[in-house]
Amino acid sequence: MTVIGWLQISLLFLAVLAVVKPLGLYMAQVFSGGRNVFSPIFGPVERGLYAAAGVDPAKEQGWLAYTLSMLAFSLAGFATLYAILRLQAWLPLNPQGFGSVPPDLAFNTAVSFVTNTNWQNYAGETTMSHLSQMLGLTVQNFVSAASGIAMALALTRAFARSAVSTVGNFWVDLTRATLYVLLPLAIVVALAFVAMGLPQTFHASVTATTLEGAQQSIALGPVASQEAIKQLGTNGGGFFNVNAAHPFENPTALSNYLNIFAMLSVSAALLYTFGQFVGNRRQGWAFIAVTFAFLIASAGVVYWAEAAGNPILTALGLDPALGNMEGKEVRFGQAMTALYATVTTGLSDGGVNGMHGSFTGLGGLVPMFLIQLGEVLPGGVGSGLYGMVVFAILAVFVAGLMVGRTPELLGKKIGSREMKYAMFAVLILPLAILGFTAISAVLPFAVASVGTAGPHGLSEVLYAFTSAAGNNGSAFGGLTGNTPWYNTTLGIAMLLGRFAYAVPVLAIAGSIAAKTRVPASKGTFPTDTPLFVGLLIGIILILGGLQFFPALALGPIIEHLAMLSGQTF
């Protein structure tokens, strides 16, 4: 570890802190329904969409109608994407002449993009036509993120209002999140990406004659436009197989910053928007403090573990000065790779700029652990916010138990109904992750997909289901995931992680919205103080993390010890 490495890490967090407030306020303005700076451009488009869809933007929905709208929209998106992938061979804009995507892979991919996971069991440059990338994948990059924002808004309004039966209008939230937040940001970021060297063309490839006279076919495409929304929507699905490690997705240290900045800023700003909505900005800052504490500590652990190098290779005569370089790019080095790995898993982004599967045991444990904590740090756009609020509900409940008072959060009493829904939501992750991993670890054909024997093999399977259920999308790439077993089970894990989590959250929103907001009294446990920040960190660690510790001990922790003792498998 070096001072410069830490400076590189700090700069990113300072940049994000600087935009949290203006971006958070802007989003509060957009989702309050008022006019904003982009209304003159996108206002007519917005009204046209509502007219065609038969949506009355002034009419709000109860939590159940809101949920049904979200499910109907997700289903329509899944069906469209599945159809595009299955019909790819006959559709235009397919210069490489790729065939149609097989059924199990198309199911997995469609679920993956609709749930904002963007797990990729395919290699982009050898599977997907430009049409599939654009009309299929890019669209879901926008709208799955916008759906996440919409659900977070429903929960936010529930806390902001008193004794009402509605939580907002899903169609309006979805449309406004797409048109006024994601689209303008994506345009700016995409053009900045092109300036940094990301290609943006409809040519599929160019053939170069190398200096030694060989032919090198270089895959191209509309990369910048997809990369921009991939990060802003915390999607993470790359244009190319190796994601943001590919020099065309991430050519320089500066583009690396913009990648990380784009994925982190919207989710972090949404926490501020929450504070603004509920009339307590300090609450937003308290959530941001929890997030940053986790991210900086985690980046430190990964950086430390990776910078030490791999002693097995050091013994062969490799200089450990540059750290563990297997699966990493020279232009990023250890600090910027550690930072990317931490943020992409604290969020539900899942893009990578180095191969997590080639990280050291502890270096690879951290990204996996961050996803298992529930991706609330700050999580995917929207999904992270509502995940954080669920943990806050659990934290005030624990605090209430300690002092023997009815728990309340932001003036809303937390009753047994909300607690049941919250517990149901947080149990989905361990159920899907540990359940499917355990089954896969004993099925011979599932074990056959493992790339590295020994404890790392278990880590590969554990990481896959962690990533799927957490809707992250990053991977320990040694696992051959493109098999009927993994395509199907990972698809189910993604659906559970998205919808079995979101539905109880929306039910909480409905129940909270109906409650009267009571003013704070002397007996109220304040939730915007350092004490609460500490309590919330503890709850996330204990509840989110402890249940995975046995599995982590068998995988990455043993791997790290084996590496230190020079054992190979």
């Binding site: 869809a53 926008f142 689209l183 320089t252 540059l322």
Partner: protein, 195 residues
């Protein structure tokens, strides 16, 4: 449920047209008009022929050229149509055997002492255009001998091709292998003409 279907279908179609069609087309049009070199892959041409991209690494095996890092792409290294890392875990015997073989190859080519970490490991993309300044330094003697140049001349070319950190902080020191080898070919200070 039926009253959910109309907005679901209409908004799916409408937002697809906006984000899947209009958005990439506008970005492509703007990028091609304002930044055609970058938008088309930062290609390097020599005598009108594309010889590679400034951002994408390529294979070099000749003694006259600086070598890049090992690449895990298949079927051949630096396959820019199928990016890939090795994805091998740190305790994999396959990784250990592969690195040992690469270290033997580099030792045979005259590298002494500890081998720079990037020289013995495959990058994440398999297309890393860069090597560390240390790995470049260790190859100077070999390239100078193969070209019949003085080590000082080659060192000068390497130093000019070395990129530092932006503002002294951002990024890592690195050498672009293709640009370095191009500079070598362009230097035309071959031994015979200088003596």
């Amino acid at each position: 449920m039926f009253n959910q279907l109309r907005p679901a279908l209409v908004l799916t179609l409408g937002l697809t047209a906006i984000t899947g069609l209009a958005y990439p087309l506008v970005i492509t049009g703007t990028a091609q008009a304002l930044m055609p070199a970058e938008a088309n892959g930062s290609l390097i041409r020599k005598d009108g022929v594309v010889i590679g991209s400034a951002l994408i690494g390529q294979s070099f095996a000749s003694e006259k050229y600086f070598w890049p890092r090992p690449s895990a792409t298949g079927p051949e290294p630096y396959n820019a149509s199928a990016s890939s890392g090795s994805n091998l875990g740190t305790t994999s015997f396959k990784l250990k055997d592969r690195v040992a073989a690469d270290i033997d190859r580099l030792r045979a080519a005259g590298l002494a002492g500890e081998i720079p970490a990037d020289a013995g490991t495959a990058s994440g993309s398999g297309l890393d255009p860069h090597i560390s300044p240390e790995f470049a330094r260790d190859q100077i003697a070999r390239v100078a001998k193969a070209r019949g140049l003085s080590e000082a001349d080659v060192r000068g070319i390497v130093e000019r091709a070395t990129q530092g950190r932006l503002f002294g902080v951002i990024g890592e020191p690195r050498v672009n292998v293709l640009e370095l080898n191009l500079a070598l070919d362009g230097s035309r200070t071959s031994a015979s003409s200088r003596r």
